[in-house]
Amino acid sequence: MLSRTASNLYWIARYMERADTVARLLEVGSRISLLPSAQGYRSDWDSLLQATGMAHAFAQKYGQTVQRNIESFLFFDRDNPSSVASCITAARENGRIVRTALTTQVWDALNTAFQELRQLEREERSKLELSRLTDWTMRHAAMLRGAIDATLLRDDGFNFLNIGYYLERGDNTARLMDVKYYVLLPRVDYVGSGLDNYQWTTLLRAMGAQRAFHWAYGGEVTAMKIADFLIRNPQSPRSLATCTAGLMNHLGRLAKAYGRETEAQEKVRTLAAGIEAATVDAIFDEGLHEFLTRYIAEAATLANAIHASYLSGEMR
């Protein structure tokens, strides 16, 4: 397969998953900001931007962290490469280029999202509830995912799509969890308080995992349990364990199909082993933020290895 085609498929998945996460972030942010907090709601939005690495770009363009600005920035703003609008447009553009590598259903899912987005952009902002925007985004991300699973040939292109999905999802889960770190940073004595738990629950809710969590764990919501659920539990669809297992699987299939391993397979094994070995105690000993930061960096190295081995066409 042409490296560029593989790259287009990989980025379709990454962009769509990113749009989904940004919508979830918006939801977490708006919920957290409804709470009374020590610093007022503005600092919560700040921490959210901080966690996503977009704080600087936002401050440059908007300055004030008021909700409307955040919505503009995270949903509509084409200058922000990670906004929902930018991501969906980029995903669709990548799809258009490799149109013949996609099924009609997959193309339809991408194209419909894009066409509806253009309609949303024409609507009056005051008529657009935030919840409508976030629901809409998550629905279209799910539709694309469904179309891919239901109709696409299980060839190397399918593996590249999935590698994009798992890589992006793992990164996003880590970042969403890290929002908590930024929110709580100023006051260590909040840990374990009612407010603390409420914020954790909000996080679960944003990941669509609140009920799943209760089924899996039951009882009190504690930071330890949630960390276990989102990092180590292979049943959780967004956990780091699930994402690394997915990456292992699809990179393994590529190695088998092409008859050779690359540094990407080596890197993913290290990454997965790290997750496997980490107990919750060890994670909290290291510090959750430190652990997540390390994961994000290692996943980025893996992404570079995937790029060098497959997507750049430089592999010899």
Binding site: M1, L2, A6, T100, Y258, G313, M315
Partner: protein, 500 residues
């Protein structure tokens, strides 16, 4: 019931595909009756015999239904683009007319012989002018027209591409003025587009009207992609052992013909690449794949010469592959059409194609050129100046209908002003008579009416010369209009060749 009748109008028509837009006022000029390809008087010509019943018995509702269906099919396929590089909205849909254009086997036989003859001569000419230049030494074509031509690539002088083929896909634009009168309007030796319309129009017609295909014995065109693949593979460079790897090189998805590029890649089962997907290393061209570099033997390029290799042509080209021309000249890769092929389809060279046929093949041309006067020649210029109101005068290098005079449609003032321009630089102009283009019945608002058409068949030149029986028929949908360009209300039709 739909009434089908032969409409006779006397009007003056001109030759260029992008020339005049409405019927002439019949002022000056020889008014010639146009040839209706279906009717001769009230008689139906034989190739169209079965279509008369078909259209006469088609209820109005069915017609609207089918037309809507055809449009939906085109949209779903995503076939939206501008033919002939006319620009405009890349997502634009070109109108499709369901009334087919039909040739008898005998008519096609003559066209086929004429087109193949032309394709052979054009390629012989290209090999010659990049070689010894015999035709110029023999005084048949002025050296200036060739060597000073913008399309002449000095970079490939002395190089003979595999099998001596420069132009692998020759698109010959043809108009008809009578039962046996076919004229070549122009040759396209570089990368003629529009073949996806030939393929998709047929797909859609077969899907919508299977009965028509049972009743008429229509030659298939869907083997075009297979023939194209074989043609491209047959000109693999000598360094290539084994099955050659063929790719299509596209400028990218913003190009108006991107759909066509991806369709052909899909149908041939070859990769559709952009410049960035290819690189030169050692003596070869490679494509970047997920399994590492893979050697490329034949590049069917759909980008212009100037963009092929920034080291050899335009240094600012982002579309090309640095070093490609070195590999090409050392026989490491084939490029189709070969760089430099454009010198054969220039408007000034066009007038010499009949001479080429006589010179290289020792044959008489089967298809005629539209009579053309070279204003650079004194006796021609005299004739042109004396007959300006009847002629179409074009700039040699102009395109898109700019800088031209359409005599029968121009006011006395315009003609006089043009006369001055012409006198200033006569060799920059050619002149042609206005032609009465043939018509084919076409579905219009009120029923069925004749509309003007042209034809572009696609001749494949490799180890063998092949022509799929069919082509792109463009139709001017406006009443009386001769403009078949899609940007100005032109549409397309399925083109049938009946089996003998």
């Amino acid at each position: 019931m739909v009434m089908l009748r032969a409409v006779r109008r006397s009007e003056t028509l001109c030759a260029g595909p992008s020339v005049c837009s409405s019927r002439a006022k019949g002022s000056a000029g020889a008014a010639v009756a146009q040839f209706n390809e279906m009717f001769q008087g009230t008689d139906v010509r034989i190739p169209y015999a079965r279509l008369q019943d078909w259209v006469a018995t088609m209820p109005q509702e069915l017609r609207s239904l089918k037309q809507a269906e055809a449009e939906a099919l085109f949209r779903r396929i995503g076939i939206t683009f501008a033919v002939y590089g006319e620009g405009g909205d890349p997502d634009r849909l070109i109108p499709f007319d369901m009334f087919p254009r039909v040739f008898s086997g005998a008519e096609w036989g003559k066209l086929e012989r004429g087109i193949k003859q032309r394709a052979r001569a054009l390629n012989a000419f290209l090999v010659d002018v990049y070689g010894r230049g015999e035709i110029i030494r023999a005084g048949r074509i002025p050296a200036r027209l060739v060597y000073q031509n913008e399309a002449y690539e000095k970079a490939v002088a002395g190089f003979v591409p595999p099998k001596g083929v420069y132009s692998h896909i020759v698109g010959v634009d043809i108009v008809r003025t009578g039962p046996d009168e076919f004229y070549v309007l122009e040759d396209n030796c570089r990368t003629p587009s529009g073949v996806s319309y030939m393929l998709e129009s047929r797909e859609i017609m077969m899907r919508m009207f299977p009965d028509l295909f049972r009743e008429n014995r229509i030659e298939p065109v869907d083997n075009y992609s297979e023939k194209l693949r074989r043609t491209l593979a047959s000109v693999a460079p000598s360094k290539c052992k084994g099955e050659p790897t063929v790719v299509i090189l596209t400028p990218g998805h913003f190009n108006s013909a991107y759909y066509e590029h991806s369709l052909l890649a899909d149908l041939m089962g070859v990769e559709l690449v952009e410049g960035q997907d290819l690189f030169v290393e050692g003596e070869y061209v490679w494509m970047r794949t997920t399994e590492g570099p893979q050697r490329v033997d034949v590049i069917y390029r759909r980008i212009d010469d100037a963009f092929l290799d920034p080291l050899c042509f335009r240094p600012d080209s982002m579309l090309g592959i640095p070093g490609l021309m070195d590999v090409y000249r050392s026989g490491g890769v084939s490029i189709c059409s070969a760089p430099g092929a454009g010198v054969a389809d220039d408007k000034a060279i066009y007038t010499y194609v009949p001479d080429m046929i006589r010179f290289y093949l020792g044959e008489e041309p089967i298809l005629q050129n539209v009579p053309t006067w070279q204003c650079g020649r004194d006796e021609d210029l005299k004739h042109v100046l004396a007959n300006l109101p009847d002629l179409v005068v074009k700039e040699v290098h102009g395109s898109g209908g700019y800088g031209m005079l359409v005599g029968p449609k121009s006011s006395r003032d315009e003609i006089e002003r043009f006369r001055l321009k012409l006198a200033e630089d006569p060799s920059n102009y050619i002149a042609q008579p206005t032609l009465a283009l043939s018509t084919v019945p076409t579905f219009v608002e009120e029923g069925v009416a004749p509309r003007h058409v042209d034809l572009r068949p696609y001749c494949l030149v490799g180890e063998r010369i092949e022509l799929v029986p069919g082509g792109l028929t463009r139709v001017a949908l406006q009443e009386g209009s001769l403009v078949v360009n899609s940007s100005q209300g032109g549409g397309v039709k399925d083109t049938w060749v009946l089996a003998e």
